[in-house]
């Protein structure tokens, strides 16, 4: 929060605008003949102090969970405990993926432990840690379903997904080659059971569901839903994005789900890193374990030590190696730090916080009772404008205009880490923005690094590298 002395209309010049050098490649001193090398390389050329300042400045132009509330609905932005970074930085864990099992017993034991923790938490029988993100987990999970059906000689080509589901569900199912059947919501905001009954059939490979759903409601009919899908020969897939609501109180496996993924960068507090890396382990019931990606970790039959193994009918690989190791280490550390009581309390406080915040926000919340998140509606006001104005009140706004079942939706998930005071500030930001007039909203934000950014022209005239900048810029 120092003086921002903006020069030449840039908040911070690009590395390329500071200094670049073009160096020749090849020639007499080169270890390679010229026909195997490029001619030259031009790249930024700065000293370490200049880089330190550049990135320190950039960081100061970036919101984070350590900056303040970050209540993006369905994103579960929790505090990332600092000690997990120290654990992940342990050089002993820094090994090559082709090392012999015998020589990396530490890594294997940790991964095995995490498989066990996750299986227990989700009520699943077997877990793979390979998928490097939630969407990769979905894809892996759907591949498992596909392999299962194919092994049973069944040709099922549809995956049923509620309209309010995360976009990745649709994309992952489609990537696996499935036709997507979209399921409308019932009036109460939950799965329309009749519509589901009508939709399931011989073509149904799976139903993908998150629970609580994307407006925070528990699918009360989950037992019936499961029965319906199972009776039709389909499988039930659980999108773990909202698992933080249920820790220790309900488990997807107990609800009848056959496959699930875990978003460790949500539920288990691994840092989101401005977009990743995450990890999306997949858990399945016993019957599906043999289809999981390969390799997994198991105890050696000798009873001492661990080994990698390929599940018998494995779908193969969804990552070139074994996924995002550093992220998995942090997830393990988080789970072990909290233990049973901590996990139980995390979801209790996450739900308490959402409900308290909801009670303080003056916008209407059409659906309830909600758990870890709620979808308010900004009504007459444009939700995106309200969100921009909230920036001026020193908080990050919720997810806006999604899910579409709520008009001008503001999907809000404070997580358990916010204090009452912080929630009160957040509520004030909502309510102040609600009280501001249209002009103020349209003009917002005014107190941020950058003012309102023109998204349309960015897409219409894509400039995606510094080479795309004209000389006049």
């Amino acid at each position: 929060d120092q003086a921002r002395y903006v020069e030449n209309g840039q908040y911070e010049p690009l590395l390329s605008e500071k200094e670049t050098t073009e160096v020749d490649v090849g020639g007499d001193d080169s270890p390679l003949p010229d026909d195997l090398t490029r001619d030259s390389v031009e790249l930024p050329d700065l000293s370490e102090p200049e880089l330190a300042r550049h990135y320190t400045r950039l960081s100061q132009m970036n919101w984070s969970i350590d900056s303040g509330p970050y209540p993006l609905g369905s994103c579960t932005m929790k505090y990332n405990p600092k000690f997990t970074e120290a654990v992940a930085a342990d050089p002993n864990g820094s090994v090559h993926p082709d090392r012999s099992d015998e020589s990396i017993q530490g890594n294997l034991e940790l991964l095995y432990g995490l498989q066990e923790y996750l299986a227990e938490i989700g009520g699943m029988d077997a877990v793979t840690l390979q998928p490097p993100a939630g969407a990769a987990g979905e894809f892996a999970g759907i591949l498992v379903a596909k392999a299962y059906h194919e092994a049973n000689g069944e040709d099922r080509n549809e995956v049923i997904i509620p309209a309010s589901a995360h976009g990745t569900n649709f994309a992952s199912a489609a990537m696996a080659g499935y036709d997507v059947v979209e399921l409308p919501s019932a009036e109460d905001g939950r799965v329309d059971v009749e519509a589901l009954e009508a939709a399931v059939g011989d073509d149904t490979a799976a139903l993908m569901l998150t629970n609580p759903n994307t407006v925070g409601l528990f699918e009360r009919d989950i037992e019936h839903i499961a029965e319906t899908v199972h009776d039709a020969g389909g499988l039930l897939y659980y999108d773990g994005a909202n698992l933080n609501a249920l820790l220790g109180r309900a488990r997807p496996g107990d609800m009848g789900f056959d496959i699930m993924h875990y978003n460790v960068h949500k539920t288990f507090a691994t840092p989101h890193g401005g977009g990743g890396p995450g990890a999306g382990p997949v858990g399945v019931v016993d019957e599906l374990a043999e289809y999981l990606p390969s390799p997994r970790v198991r105890e050696r039959s000798s009873g001492s030590g661990y080994e990698l193994f390929d599940p018998e009918q494995s779908v193969g690989k969804v990552h070139g190696f074994q996924g995002n190791w550093l992220v998995l280490v942090k997830a393990y550390a988080y789970i072990a730090r909290l233990g049973d009581e901590g996990l139980l309390d995390a979801s209790a406080k996450a739900v308490l916080n959402a409900n308290y915040l909801g009670s303080q926000v003056e916008f209407d919340i059409p659906y309830g009772p909600y758990h870890h998140e709620f979808a308010a509606t900004s009504g007459e006001k444009d939700a995106a404008d309200v969100a921009k104005r909230m920036l001026d009140y020193g908080v990050h706004p919720p997810t806006t205009k999604w899910p579409e079942m709520v008009p001008e939706a503001m999907l809000t998930e404070p997580t358990e880490i916010e204090s009452k005071k912080s929630l009160d500030d957040l509520a004030a930001a909502f309510n102040n923005a609600a009280a501001d007039d249209e002009e103020t909203l349209a003009d917002a934000p005014t107190r941020t690094t950058a003012r309102r950014i023109d998204q349309v022209s960015a897409a219409r005239n894509p400039r995606l590298s510094w080479r795309a900048l004209g000389d006049d810029e």
């Binding site: 050329d45 990135y55 654990v87 969407a135 990552h319």
Partner: protein
């Protein structure tokens, strides 16, 4: 926040929680859970909570169970020295603990860093579009094949890949194409390089994409890239080149050899050995822009007419286009891209080229030294090498590798009588010791 038990990261003092419950109008937190009796869980996970201190000790002891081997390993996962600057800056909470940049007005910093990452990939590949990350080189290759599926002009549905391809990469490729009409076939290699004649025979109307690597997984530098580019172009098929961020600085520029898509590993910079964790680089031609998978950062202006950055062309992505998205990718490797960018900038062009040249020199030297030992022939392929090379062993390779492990060194076994050895700036100072260990075990 005086509380006896529960999450150490939930701040609620008991009195505070009580006030909140009161405001909501319920008696306790449990009343907020709308879970049918039938699916309630009232068991225990059996996970004991440990203090931060105890846990650090426990996990340190756990990871110390790994044998402390000096690794001369590569084959797609490489170790280069990562400067402290990278750790220091990337660990800043504003970077590490931020989400995807959905509100660009308060995330200009990360957006600019990703834009700079994209730009450096453009500088290095010569292709005008680079996304801001895929999970790893395997998924990047698979996404390239899916892009080929979407953009192919002809009816071709065959993806040609080299005979030598890591099984992990092939596995991912197969899975990503399982939902398409595409099929994967291999073409032969000739002494560690593409068997160009054989490849020429294979490319036809059915070919949607040709994939080649430089350097190859066996460490050889590919000598037919220009020919492959021409071949692909003549057959209206895509040429996808696999490489990495260090190799790019020295070897032929992808654009100059006609590559349509460049994929590979960018985590060679910024990440130390991390049990296979990676950073997939993805760059392509402008004409495929709207078919690119993953996130793109572009330039725009703000209401003050100042330059500003934003995620752009999001209509390609899953959260908007859903089942018609270019990919299902959402969470990616943004933070690893930030690290790679800082490392790249720290090296600068001279430092990067020097590093790349040493990858050739050190591999050449080490191969020569091993070749002098009785019972070893190296390199097996009569090519130029980058970082790594294959060694023929008179004795069974697995036995030698096992003995080396006892001596404290890890190398790859890639055949009954074949080892693979990788050398970079991270282990070059141990080269003498490795040679001595080989002498010991032979």
């Amino acid at each position: 926040m005086t509380r006896e038990r529960g999450s150490p990261y939930a701040p609620h003092a008991d009195a505070e929680a009580a006030a909140m419950l009161d405001a909501i109008g319920v008696d306790d937190e449990e009343a907020l859970f709308d879970i049918p009796e039938g699916v309630r869980f009232d068991g225990q996970f059996g996970i004991d909570s440990r203090s931060e201190q105890a846990l650090r000790r426990e996990l340190s002891a756990l990871l110390a169970k790994n044998d402390d081997l000096t690794e001369f390993m590569g084959r797609g996962h490489y170790d280069h020295y990562v400067p402290s600057l990278v750790d220091n800056l990337s660990q800043r909470a504003e970077f590490l603990t931020s989400y995807t940049q959905y509100q660009p007005e308060i995330t200009q910093g990360f957006l600019q860093a990703l834009f700079e990452y994209q730009s450096m990939l453009v500088d290095l590949t010569g292709l005008p579009v680079a996304n801001c990350s895929m999970y790893d080189s395997a998924t990047a290759l698979a996404e390239a094949a899916r892009l080929a599926d979407r953009v192919r002009q002809a009816s071709g549905s065959v993806v040609l890949v080299p005979e030598f391809l890591r099984s992990g990469k092939r596995g991912v490729l197969d899975n990503y194409l399982a939902g398409t009409e595409m099929t994967v076939e291999t073409y032969p290699m000739d002494d560690g390089n593409v068997d160009f004649e054989a490849l020429s025979d294979r490319v036809d109307d059915e070919t949607a994409m040709v994939y080649a690597e430089n350097p190859t997984v066996r460490g050889t530098i590919e000598e037919h890239l220009g020919d492959i580019g021409t071949l692909a172009s003549e057959n209206d098929t895509l040429f996808c080149l696999g490489t990495d961020l260090v190799a790019l600085a020295l070897l032929e520029e992808p654009a100059s050899v006609g590559a349509d898509v460049v994929v590979g590993e960018a985590g060679v910079l910024g990440l130390p050995t991390a049990y296979g964790m990676g950073l997939g680089l993805f760059a392509t031609r402008e004409e495929y822009l709207r078919q690119v998978p993953g996130r793109l950062v572009g330039i725009s202006e703000d209401a003050d007419d100042k330059r500003a950055y934003t995620l752009t062309l999001q209509t390609r992505e899953q959260h908007i286009r859903r089942e018609r998205a270019t990919s299902n990718i959402c969470t990616n490797q943004a933070w690893v891209a930030l690290r790679a960018a800082i490392h790249l900038a720290w090296l600068g062009p001279s430092g990067l080229v020097d590093l790349a040249e040493d990858c050739v020199r050190d591999a050449t030297d080490l191969a020569e030294r091993l070749d002098e030992l009785v019972g070893l022939q190296a390199p097996v392929h009569d090519r130029h090498h980058f970082r790594e090379f294959v060694v023929h062993t008179d004795q069974p390779a697995a036995a030698i590798a096992g003995d080396l492990e006892t001596e404290g060194y890890a190398v790859h076994v890639v055949g009954e009588h074949l080892l693979q050895v990788c050398i970079t700036d991270a282990n070059a100072h141990e080269a003498d010791a490795l040679v001595a260990a080989f002498e010991e075990v032979l």
